[in-house]
Subunit: 201 residues, 2 copies
DNA sequence: ATTTGTCTCAATCAAATGATTGATTGGTGC
DNA sequence: GCACCAATCAATCATTTGATTGAGACAAAT
């Protein structure tokens, strides 16, 4: 029998600890940036010794890669929640907007971690191999939406799908990054994105 | 008589030193991120002692604010280069694109510094007071372009200028951030932005 | 009961790091 | 020549920080 995850005892399974470590690290990145990320602070937040932290994650570099991996897992889980088969282009685009709205509302600070790790990806190959494909996956998903929308005639016929997807995902990321942006402003941006690419009658 | 700036001697004026320090810091941020910024490395790059660095810039916090200020000065200088009076909306938008293209080509890595400092602005008031107004100035400039374009009929009549500006500047920032983006892809994005907001005949 | 492997911690290290001190140098004005 | 000030540096400090060591606790397997 597989041992049940114990939330009470002080001894945790390796996997659980690693998850807790990744979450603690994410929280500290939100508060102080990658710049202010300290192994001691993570250990303290998880409630373990520094040596225990190093038992589960060998180095700080591996720890940051672990954070990236935890982001990927969250991303995967989210991508699988809403099946998009059988939907037309506009429905898919709005589904994309729905997912985004949810992320912005539920995890407004997550973009801090994403941005820091995308920046770090420039000089850290391990992080790059996780973050860049994530970003590309998202972009490609939107490229597909535009291709579909052009072929079924619901979108403008002269769209460049790659460029439109870059604009869409780029604008969305940027909105998420702005703490001062109100929800109504976000709605206006999403509406404007729709107007920008939908077929004008 | 004001003493001329000496580029040869080992004694520099305070202002020149501060400029050199800011530039060195920017370079190190490009290479290692804010995360890897060390006062010693900056001093070494400028060719001065750590104590001398601290003579000109009291603390690391002040140093990062100095970098932000140096960005602002560059931004100001660039904004004043192309007068935009007497131009119509489309001309102004294309002027904006020109400036952007130039920045991407001439200083492809500058966006790293900008991004790191915008991120830092969340927890550093001094940096926020420099970076946020910069970003807002740019956005407002684009808002004005859309307002003008709507009133003279060259842009779509149903644009939300604030939203359109957020999309435009957000997409541009995101493109700059992507090292892998080719120049032709950048052109496609700028063209697509134009198509998205211009009046369809 | 003993062994084995996983998980944990107190104590400690060596290096890095931001900052300071006290003294020196060179130029400017008088 | 002298006083004054900005600019500079060698040496040093006090912490911080990532990482290691060696020993112990606990549970499951033998």
């Amino acid at each position: 029998m597989t041992p049940e995850p114990s939330t009470s005892g002080k001894r945790e399974s390796g996997d659980d600890r690693r998850v807790a470590i990744a979450l603690a690290a994410r929280q500290i990145i939100i508060e102080k940036g990658l710049e202010g990320l300290r192994t001691r602070d993570i250990a303290a937040r998880v409630g373990i010794n520094i040596a225990t932290l190093h038992y589960h994650v060998p180095s700080k570099e591996a720890l940051i890669a672990l954070v990236a991996d935890s982001l990927r897992q969250d991303f995967r889980a989210q991508a699988l929640r809403h099946p998009r088969a059988g939907k037309n282009a506009l429905e898919r685009l709005r589904l994309e907007f729905d997912d985004f709205r949810e992320a912005v509302v539920e995890m407004p600070e997550l973009i801090v971690v994403l941005t820091e790790l995308i920046a770090r990806a420039r000089r850290d190959k391990a992080v790059a191999e996780i973050m860049i494909p994530m970003r590309e996956f998202w972009r490609n998903q939107v490229v597909d939406i535009f291709r579909l929308g052009m072929s079924d005639g619901s979108f403008r016929p002269d769209i460049d799908p790659e460029a439109a997807a870059l604009i869409t995902t780029g604008a969305m990321s940027d909105c998420w990054r702005r703490t001062d942006l109100s929800l109504s402003q976000l709605e206006q941006v999403l509406t404007e994105l729709e107007h920008a690419f939908i077929r004008r009658s």
